[in-house]
Symmetry: C2
């Protein structure tokens, strides 16, 4: 093969020539500095600087069979839900000298397989997947490549997959129980779309379970499934309040839905939480600033990213790590949201 396009940037052999050592020594100086004599090291570092040498990752990856890159596949980047987690993930990886390769699938299982294949093809040493429900072919692919991976934002009950997550169902039950303790009996839920999101499904199930333990059933008219958007939250609220009686407590599948629902309450002159208590998950800081005295459930979004990164990094170092890491959620009670006495 003839040189197709002469390379313009310096390569390892250029550094070697300038420093008057072999390429092996330069390579060592770059990856195991303590294995070369300080004087030689200094000469090499000088040469690197002079030439502005930047290693060719593909060549390095091909020879070493490692990329120092971790892939992450998330449902969407379109709202802030996963921003905290991804940010923490990338920060922790960066500190360990790893790069994050990110892709999203927009809640489509086939797309998820496709983008994951793209990541594997691109070369990753480990993979972070969001949630526990995935295309079987996805796990096959991971298996075939012996790729270390971790599921996050949920816990896999089967014990087959490493997870760093929290119990969505228990969190939802807890929030429902809190509202029950306050005396609420008329509930509604604006849920995520359970068919494509097992976290949403678990939250709905958790609410249902807690309520039925008190003999309360969520009427079909009091439960709607919506995509995680503000306007869906508004719609959701108008739908669950369409009946003769208002629910006294509305539980939302996440913060985006909750904020939309609250906006609709404002628009309709429904007082929160005096008339209706709106509760959501995740980061409700904004909402609680606008509507003080809101009870919310905080998810450990940042820790999820940090711990997922740590889990993978530990495994890449060959350390043993627990299969399941369960992180605590936090119920944040900012005031009383008891049901109106009139009812």
């Amino acid at each position: 093969m003839k040189p197709r396009q002469p390379r313009k940037s310096a390569k390892l052999s250029d550094v070697a020539r300038l420093a008057k050592v072999s390429t092996a020594t330069v390579s060592r100086a770059l990856t195991l500095p303590h294995k070369v004599k300080p004087l030689t090291l200094a000469r090499i570092q000088q040469a690197v600087k002079t030439l502005g040498y930047v290693a060719h990752g593909a060549a390095r990856a091909l020879a070493s069979r490692r990329t120092r890159t971790i892939g992450a596949v998330i449902p969407t980047l379109d709202n802030a839900i996963f921003a905290n987690t991804i940010h923490a993930l990338q920060k922790t990886l960066d500190e360990a000298g790893y790069t994050l390769l990110l892709a999203s699938h927009e809640f489509n299982a086939d797309v998820e397989v496709r983008v994951t294949r793209a990541l594997i093809e691109r070369g990753i040493d480990g993979l972070v997947l969001l949630g526990t429900t995935h295309h079987p072919g996805l796990f096959q692919m991971i298996e075939a490549h012996q790729l270390p991976y971790v599921l996050t934002w949920a816990l896999d009950q089967s014990g087959r997959h490493p997870c760093v997550g929290f119990d969505n169902r228990a969190a939802a039950s807890r929030i429902a129980n809190h509202l029950l303790d306050l005396g609420h009996r008329e509930f509604a839920m604006i849920s995520g779309i359970t068919a494509v999101n097992e976290r949403a499904k678990e939250r709905l199930d958790g609410v249902r379970t807690a309520l039925s333990a008190h003999g309360i059933r969520l009427a079909p008219s009091r439960i709607v499934e919506k995509p995680f958007t503000l306007s869906a939250g508004r719609e959701g609220l108008s739908e669950v309040t369409a009946g003769r009686e208002l629910p006294t407590a509305v539980i939302c599948g996440n913060d985006v839905l909750a904020i939309g629902a609250m906006a609709e309450c404002h628009a309709r002159g429904i007082a929160i939480p005096q008339q209706v208590s709106v509760t959501g998950f995740d980061d409700m800081e904004i909402a609680s600033l606008m509507t003080p005295g809101l009870t919310t459930m905080h998810f450990p979004t940042t820790e999820l990213g940090t711990d997922a990164a740590r889990h993978l990094l530990a495994r890449l170092r060959g350390e043993k790590v627990p299969l399941l890491t369960e992180l605590p959620v936090e119920l944040i009670v900012r005031g009383t949201t008891a049901p109106p006495p009139a009812r």
Copy 2:
């Protein structure tokens, strides 16, 4: 060199053997399917399927000198500011068969150089940078590697760098002029930190320019610089309202600051926009749901991502593209925010 770790997953030569063709033909079948006989192609595709073959990107990159990966370096992922842009960027790239490699620098110029080097090392065919102000060494590095790049979220006046952005200064002037037209004369600004963010600086300058054209000066007590967080927005508002007289209009450097400022207004019983008009940039949908009748400035965050991707993709195809792409901003007037008549 002996094989260090036997490879477990199938490689090109395995496919070739199974399909009874040469590796060259398999390679062709994968990248230029129309250049091989349909029958051969079918045999190869079958073999690929049987073996679950996934190409080795590093080897491919080394041989072809292309990675089909685009890098992007942004200030932060920690809030939703850039989520829209990144989402659109990644979506457009994905549709063209490219992967996004993402990194953030937390408003630190040195970190930016470091992470960019990491991206280049990992191998990228193009680079998206946010804003126009960067470490000189950064541009040197890009130059040395002849790496196609584009700056976004701002426009470089020097004409030296390809940009897909909008005019932050003009946008800020426009919002100030709108408020001036309504009769406001008492202004305050809660700005981003201008020293590390030239977009923030341009917005502040734009406001100053518009005001001084009307003989109005922003008093030092009426202007604060804050990081882009909700609590900083709250602090900012209490600081600019500490004086004897309230400003009638508060302009915020972005939506996060504005929402924080509005929360503080709520907490202090200051009516918006009746007593104070709060204005912010970017995505103020949430805020305007909570406080109807708000005037805001919408930035083309999604288009920024889409067009930046298109720009790079076109250049990678060897097409000529304009150096500067200016996207329009939009002033969204949702109601009147005239100053209170009593003043």
